[in-house]
């Protein structure tokens, strides 16, 4: 099993999805059960990866490599390292919880479940591909299901949001395709192998082409992250997507962008990235401040969480930009490693926390109040103690309260990037103030104060909602108090990334 475990992890969801397609109409229960079992099995397999995975070892593990299109040097090449492992488990966990949460979906159920599982295959594939062609295929495969999830099961402006999402990301994808081809044609021998390209550094002596390739990748990843000013698709997509779609979008699809910066831009084009790192850092900083301020002004709870994503992904990008600016500078290697550790930790933390926040918004909107207006509530704590407790926990984690996951991430990012961009980091720390203010004010408006009589009869979390939310809350606390196991996994990969950049 060890030899094929990555292939199994990636394609198990697709297999389950195909089985769902074969179930005749009307058997909704069976479809849900098959989807749930598939997602659970995938999660278990991905957790099982922790056993064969050697945490202390640098480089790729559990590699699989077969010829795919030998005529032009394309391989089916998968591998796992300390960067991809946490993302893989995050993906399988959130897909599982999303399917649990989606239990009450009844409209076009078969397509819904199939698309969700197909999406999971696409996302997992992105995180474990080590061949550019394969990477690109998975990257695009994850695009189409999301279009449908937003477009069919979304809110009132779903069609607009879906096509906007599709167009934006496709622009990025095609820019990336050009960059990939530029790398390919300048490599000697030509290859699409990502590890081989990192070793060769084909554009090291061609600064103009390296700049072009860098901006090509940048466009693809920055749209996905999304960085300011490429973020405008995000509020639309998040607000219109069905709850589980928002969860996946925020928790995992956005990470594909930052993952790209870490896996591709940084090691493959270090000089170009170093040169343009200040620009990236400033954009990240604008994202941090802008995201927090705009979120504060949102009357719509879902939009508020969406903009808080812009803010949080800004921290990730600040850490990555700091590491890029420090590339090749031995004196700053420690700062760079810390910043990257923080960035990856923030990716996971944001996945868990924002995933939970979107579920929380869904719980109140989909099945209870049918409104998301922050000002429509008030005093809910008295009515819904469990729900309120988890929500407040997630929001505090998001604003970076110590002993919760978000704090560890932000702290590391700031410590690391302060060594490289001290001025920018100081401004970014003020961004934390804004997001703290935003979340505290939100908590106050929704949960404190007099109870709005309209909601006097709302029921608290039911069992399925609790099953979807409690694991996330637990993870927030566990890794907030004791982040070491996760940091150990990340740290080896990040320190080898930093030391690999000459």
């Amino acid at each position: 099993m060890e030899r094929y475990v990555l292939t199994i992890t990636v394609f198990l969801p697709l297999l389950g999805g195909l089985i769902v397609l074969l179930i005749p109409r009307g058997n909704d229960r069976v479809m849900k059960q098959v989807a749930l079992i598939t997602a659970a099995l995938t999660f278990l397999v991905s957790v099982w990866l922790l056993w064969p995975f050697d945490i202390g070892r640098q480089g790729m593990q559990l590699e699989e490599r077969y010829l795919w299109i030998p005529g032009i040097g394309i391989n089916y090449h998968l591998g796992l390292d300390g960067l991809s492992l946490p993302l893989v488990i995050l993906t399988t966990l959130l897909t599982l919880l999303s399917i649990v949460y989606s239990w009450r979906i009844d409209m076009r159920l078969k397509e819904y479940l199939f698309l969700f599982l197909l999406l999971e295959t696409g996302m997992l594939g992105v995180f474990v591909s080590l061949d550019f062609f394969l990477f690109y295929v998975f990257w695009e495969v994850s695009l189409v299901p999301m279009y449908f999830l937003i477009g069919i099961w979304g809110g009132p402006r779903r069609e607009y949001a879906a096509i906007k999402f599709f167009l934006y990301t496709l622009i990025g994808s095609l820019a990336m395709l050009l960059a990939i081809l530029v790398l390919y044609f300048n490599a000697e021998p030509r290859t699409f192998g990502m590890l081989e390209l990192i070793r060769q550094q084909p554009l090291a002596r061609l600064p103009a082409l390296a700049g072009l390739a860098f901006w090509g990748f940048f466009l693809a990843f920055a749209i996905k992250v999304p960085m300011w000013p490429f973020h405008t698709w995000l509020p639309d997509a998040h607000v219109e997507a069905p709850t589980a779609g928002s969860v996946i979008l925020a928790a995992i699809l956005l990470k594909m962008g930052t993952y790209g910066f870490l896996r591709i831009s940084l090691p493959m084009l270090p000089e170009a990235f170093k040169q343009y790192a200040p620009i990236v850092a400033v954009l990240a900083l604008i994202g941090i401040v802008y995201g927090a301020l705009v979120a504060m002004a949102q009357p719509d709870l879902k939009k508020l969480v969406a903009y808080s994503s812009v803010n949080h992904m800004g921290y990730v990008m600040l850490g990555i930009a700091a590491a890029a600016a420090a590339a090749g500078d031995a004196a700053k290697a420690t700062s760079a490693t810390i910043a990257l550790n923080g960035a990856v930790f923030e990716m996971i933390a944001h996945g868990i926390i924002t995933g939970a926040l979107f579920l929380i918004v869904g719980v109140i909107y989909d099945y209870r109040a049918h409104t998301r207006g922050v000002d429509d509530f008030g005093g809910l704590w008295a009515r819904l103690p469990t729900y309120s407790g988890i929500t407040i926990l997630a929001m505090l984690a998001s604003l970076g309260l110590p002993a919760l996951m978000g704090f560890v991430a932000e702290f590391l990012v700031f410590v690391g990037s302060f060594g490289v961009f001290p001025e920018l980091t100081v401004v970014a720390v003020f961004g934390v103030l804004f997001s703290a203010a935003m979340f505290l004010w939100t908590i106050q408006r929704i949960f404190l104060g007099p109870l709005n009589e309209r909601w006097a009869k709302l029921p608290d979390l039911d069992l399925r909602e609790a099953i979807a939310l409690v694991p996330l809350a637990a993870v927030m606390i566990v890794f907030g108090v004791y982040p070491r196991p996760l940091l150990d996994v990340i740290n080896i990969a990040m320190s080898s990334l930093v030391s690999g950049i000459k």
């Binding site: 005529g71 295929v137 495969v141 167009l167 820019a175 530029v182 390919y184 044609f185």
Partner: protein, 480 residues
Amino acid sequence: MPIPPEDLWALAPEFWLTGLGLLLILLDLFTDRSRKGIVGWIAIAGLLLSLLPILAMLGQPARTAFFNTYAVDGFAVFFKAIIVGSTILVILAATDYFRGQTSYEGELYILLVFTALGLVLMAGSADLILLALAIEFVSLTSYVLAGYFKTDAKSTEAGIKYFLFGAGATAVMIYGFSILYGLTGETGLYAIAERIRTAPQPALVVGLSLSLAGFGFKISMVPFHQWTPDVYEGAPTPIAAYLSVASKAAGFAALVRLLLVTFAPTGFDWVTLIAGLAAVSMTVGNLLALPQGNIKRMLAYSSISHAGFLLIAVAAFRGDFGTPGLLMYILAYTFTNLGAFFVAMAVGQRLGSDVIADYAGLAQRSPWLALLMLFFMLSLTGIPPLAGFFGKFYILGGAINNGLLWLAIVGIVNSVISLYYYVNVIRVMYLLPATSPEPVREPPALRVALGITALGTLIVGLFPQPFINLVGTATLLLRF
């Protein structure tokens, strides 16, 4: 001069097609009106058999026949296979479509076989006169096919329009040919190539530009594209499908041969000219496709933009990405575009409408048909892992490899634009509610044709290695 027997063998497919056409005429005479479908089936069988000599020639060394007037090289053979293959698929898909719509069903299959013969000749012609004859031959049969439904005003209009534009374009092209002849005193492409080096540059520009009119008309290149939407809309859908694929492929074969054999030795920078035309065709086709509400008109404008994309490959027809790029794209485009037209045929036949809005809720009414259309639309956009993506991948690679990065950028910008109107079809099929729960059923023969095109679209995208090998043998273009 005696004709060597190898020359006759080299023309086996052409002879076979001629014989098949004549046989079908006879057969049609003696077939009862209600059983004309037999003519179609025999045509399919005969075309399938003609693939045998064509495929047998694939690996063989390139040569010319009949005193250097006809090239038999991997390049021509590849296009012959594409042309015959798409003829088979179109007849297969159309048998049910034509039954009952016209009382001249048998003649239609005969005309299609003869058109295929003309297209095959176009792909191999290495002489200006033979080329002009082949193009005229194809045009004549195509005019009749486009206007086949005599009682249908739109079909008649399509026929007339196609004829008028075609006659004009051919006249201009032949004028261009005459200039080339005047400059060199030769009609054979290889002979012209030998002498053209000394020809004055301005005369060359005029000769090439005028000749391009004829090819531009066949491949629907801007500015010779105006006929395309009206003809595709008015012509019977299977004929539109055929024109968009087979006729276009043959046009590209002839164009590439003329450019690479004849103009490559001159110092004239035709690459920039073609690159410019590529950019304009892509952009104009895509922008005009955006507001279309009729599926056939949309596919017409999309085929103009695909012609532009293929022209990138013509401009970058060098190296190990550029040369196979054109062929790979044509292969992918053949499967995908035929498939899209076949779905339009099935829907048009059952709903009596080609309006995209009438596809509303097709995913509920006929999940399979909608799923296939989804594949075809995504493949035309260039989303992996479908064939269209692999074609684009090759062409973009070829452009970058040959220093045409700007053109590759124009290409990707256009791909993004095209997403909008392709996804519109998907949106209508999947996102909008069905107006009636009644399923849209496709006849069995059409189902087989759809299955083949869908499989092709998937397999070329997922396991392209065998096709890379095939295309590799076909890049062998006999040059001067």
